[in-house]
C-alpha cells in the first residue's frame, strides 16, 4: 500500500514537475509484467522501469531488511495513515524487504535532493521534491 501511496502522490505532481523543466520516472524491483500491471492499475503516465537485480538500489544505498521494513514502530503508524487515506495492500510483487526512496538528479549528475526510506511507508515530502526543482 505504501508503494501505491507514494507513486500516486508524486505522480499527481507530474504537470508541476514538467513545468519546472524536469522529468519523472519510477523504478521498481519487481518484473516488467508486474510493472505494467501497476502502471495500468494506477494510470501512471510517467515512464516506469524495473531493476530486478536491485543494482541501482544498492549503489544508491537504499535500505533493505525486515526491521527496516515492517518490523518497526514507524511502519505501523505509517500503515494507519495509508489505510486512512484509502490505500490498500495489493499482492507484493518484488522484493518485500527492499525499501525505496527518491533521488532528484541534474544533467550534470549532481544530486539535488535525496530521501532514503527509513521504514515502510516513510515517504519523501512532495513539497521538498518540488522545492529541489526550483534550485535546478
Amino acid at each position: 500500500m505504501f508503494c501505491r501511496e507514494e507513486a500516486v502522490q508524486v505522480h499527481r505532481e507530474l504537470t508541476t514537475i514538467q513545468e519546472r523543466g524536469a522529468g519523472l520516472a519510477f523504478i521498481g524491483n519487481g518484473n516488467r509484467h508486474h510493472a505494467r500491471a501497476f502502471a495500468d492499475g494506477f494510470e501512471i503516465e510517467a515512464p516506469l522501469y524495473v531493476d530486478t537485480e536491485r543494482a541501482s538500489y544498492r549503489a544508491l544505498e537504499m535500505r533493505r531488511g525486515f526491521r527496516a521494513t515492517l518490523g518497526s514502530r514507524a511502519s505501523l503508524s505509517n500503515m494507519r495513515r495509508a489505510l486512512k487515506a484509502g490505500f490498500r495492500q495489493g499482492l507484493t510483487r518484488g522484493d518485500a524487504w527492499q525499501l525505496g526512496g527518491v533521488v532528484v538528479v541534474a544533467p550534470s549528475g549532481a544530486v539535488l535532493y535525496s530521501h532514503r526510506s527509513e521504514a515502510a511507508g516513510d515517504k519523501a515530502p512532495v513539497a521538498a521534491i518540488l522545492a529541489s526543482l526550483e534550485r535546478a
Partner: protein
C-alpha cells in the same frame, strides 16, 4: 553538492519492453525525479 555514485549511474535498468539502459540516461537531457518503489503492490 554530491554526485550520483558511478555504480548507480551505470546500473542497468529495463523498460517495460525489456530493453536495458543505464540509469544515467534518465538525467542526460533534463533533471529527473527518480522514485524508487519498494515493490509493485
Amino acid at each position: 553538492m554530491s554526485q550520483v555514485p558511478e555504480a548507480a549511474a551505470r546500473a542497468v535498468i529495463r523498460d517495460l519492453e525489456g530493453r536495458g539502459l543505464e540509469l544515467r540516461s534518465l538525467w542526460r537531457e533534463r533533471t529527473v525525479v527518480l522514485v524508487f518503489l519498494r515493490h509493485f503492490g
